[in-house]
Amino acid sequence: MNREAPPLIPGGIDRILLILRWLALVLAIGLSFIDRSTEGVFVGIFPLVGGIAAYNLVILLLPRFLPWLRQPFNVLALDVLVSTLAVYLNGGYHSAFFILYVFVLISAAFRLSVMSSLLLANLAAFLYIAACLLNPARLSTIEATYITGTKLTLLLIVALLSSLLLEQLRREREETARERALAEAQATFVSVVSHELRTPLTCIKTSIELLQATETQDADEGRRELIQTIANHVARLESLVNDLLQVTRLEAEQVVLTPQPTDMALFLKRVAHSFTPLLVHKSQQLELDLSAGLPRVWVDRTQIEQVISNLLSNAIKFTPQGGHIRLALHGDKDALVISVSDDGPGIPLEEQPHIFEKFYVGHQQKATGGVGVGLGLYIARRLVELHGGRISVKSMPGQGATFTFTLPLERKAHQPRANEF
């Protein structure tokens, strides 16, 4: 593998750490001048500052020639060593260059794990004590214990707090990155699946429709039936693909509502009308009980049409030939209430709490070999909830079922501001 040498002036976090390193030096020099107790220094402050500045410049170049200095722990350990030398040469206990350790440990929190930061803090503590003891400046035992005790505690607290804080931030950033990656993966899935499934469906569906349109009346009955069978199954496949994609989008929170003020009675009439062919096919009656004069409600019509269509399709599916279905609308104090009732076989009590769950297929559906993978009611629930409403079912076995959902009259946060429409 071709490993490139790092740039002379690093970018990102390394640049911040580099600035921090120089700030520490400036601060240490400033403190050395302010703190009169550093008068008994071993060497003059200027040669010392010059030496540290030279080290800081050299450390920029060294990683280009010494690959082991590209390891963050190694370079920080070298910093600790040089800081110790500065403390030793600058008067031990009294040296303001102690501040260098603090900056090195804050830098360590950015680059190392919590354990490595603490290891570095211990190394700094050990070397600091050694530098103080080796320095000719002497203090009383109490004073020495007080100074070293305070400073070492400070070192450990800085190392622990900064590394824990940074570790937490790192985790949060990783979590956010993971969530973003997951959302991107889901979006890619939707996009790929849309393309890979809907494109062939387009070709099949249009071809079948064209075949049906051009089929003459005297065409072979068997052939016509076969074409109709293909058309039915294409429709079923299309519905399944749409449901799967809708579920993926709902779970990835990618469904964006476009609400518009809607006269629900008119809207329901129109949706119900589109079910006429299915109702005629099963000789079923659809009764509309729609209260007039209700206030308009803000809904995404495409999504609410899907909710009503899912409920009506289920009602038609489970209601016997010649049966009766009722679509009702009335106003409540703060919501519109829409219900779809059928006189089908009903839903067993033990199944009712589960029917709005994803992929839940009821006993009745399995028994009748009905089509469906248990997504319709789940999608209906999620879409109603997105509108701030609730969906529920009431049913007694053998006495049909009534699905009811509410749409709040009050506009919710997701609905557009006045100047949007």
Partner: protein, 228 residues
Amino acid sequence: MKLLIVDEEPDVVKVVRAAFRAQEPNWEVLAASSGPEALQIIESEQPDLVLLDVVLPGMDGFSVLRELRRFSDVPVIMLTVRDDEVSKVTGLELGADDYITKPFGYLELVARVRAVLRRAEGLPLSYEEPFVCGDVRVDFSTRQVTVKGQAVELTNTEYRLLYHLVRNAGRPMSHEALLARVWGHEYTDEINYLKVYISRLRAKLEPDPQHPQYILTEYGFGYRFRAP
């Protein structure tokens, strides 16, 4: 009539061709399988309408549309597997005239193409007094719109929308009424179409589109053009 279908799937091109052969046998259907090829054909053949897929190799459909709008106002219908609102709004904002999701019914496809072509023909010229409100002037006989005396370029759909608004100036018009009159009765739920075109009109006519003075929002109902 000459159509161009831009889709990388040869079979989609084949079925679209068959659909138009069945419904409009005299129409010519050209095909392109990539963005650059489509742009070249649009320049050389000047089709009356373009059916444009979003997923194309290399240059995607939105980029093709953006590029195309620099030199042509040919009606464009996006024909794509993407049915999310964001994609629809993106297409409309870039200047698409309609948006059809695959898989489509071929009768719906042909009906929508006819509707867009009808809209593109523009409104007949009408010899009546120009409408003047503040700095905005609409001359129905020349279809010229000016703001502070400066001519404003409007697409056919934008002009239609403005026409219906100013002809009813001072009266609120519902979303449904505007959608039905400008796009057609089958579009009354397509609030995004109206939203996008109202913001385009505001951007061209209003001194500050964020605080409109001419095209006013009738909250929860529709829009009203200020009375002169």
